[in-house]
């Protein structure tokens, strides 16, 4: 489902968000980016980032210690 994956495991705020912003610039509208992180802060950070930038936060799934966030570029 995701067009691309961004591995941010081991990185803490704000790096997952900063890297997401950089990666999203490369994607086309409609593309879905899967961000994998283990910093729990991303559960709040990503929806906030999406709200501020007008992108869509599709889902946040926790798989063990990893959090998979699916973000759609609008």
């Amino acid at each position: 489902m995701a067009s691309e994956t961004l591995d941010c495991v081991g990185l803490y705020c704000p790096m997952p968000i900063v890297k997401t912003a950089q990666k999203m610039k490369e994607l086309k509208p409609g593309d879905v980016l899967e961000v994998v992180a283990d910093d729990k802060g991303i559960k709040q950070d990503m929806p906030a980032w999406c709200k501020a930038t007008g992108n869509e936060c599709l889902s946040i799934k926790e798989e063990g210690s990893e959090i998979h966030v699916f973000v759609k570029k609008t």
Partner: protein
Amino acid sequence: MPEQKEKLTIVMFSGDLDKALAAFTIATTAASMGMEVSIFFTFWGLNIIKKNDAKLKANNFARRMLNIINRGGTRRMTISKYNMMGLGTSMMKGLMKDVKMPSVDEYITMAHEMGIKMIACSTTCDVMGIPEEAFRPEVTVKAGAAYYLGEAREAKVSLFI
């Protein structure tokens, strides 16, 4: 249609390592959210943006003394509490490396790439006798309080760190 970007201004008065990292964390996050960010370095904050090997000649005794004890540069930055003659700072740097937190140098490079404006306070430079060549290339402008306020009055968020 270009939308008006929200502005964030930060006055970086402190030269402490921990405070600088907090400032850059907020600045880069704001930039990644589409905000237009400018950071005004003044007083001790100038130490953050001086080159590590900056030549600081000065025209009077007080300035020469100041430039010896206040050399500046990211290499010499310390945390604001528990520095304990450098031991606290080393330990804190170790902890931050563990979680892969960017160093101030890395943050400055990142900020520059993200278009964050880094500005040196011209008055403080004159007070302390710091020449333009002493600053890193990422610092583009030397400006005063009026320029800062020009940005701040249009800014949605303004911080003093």
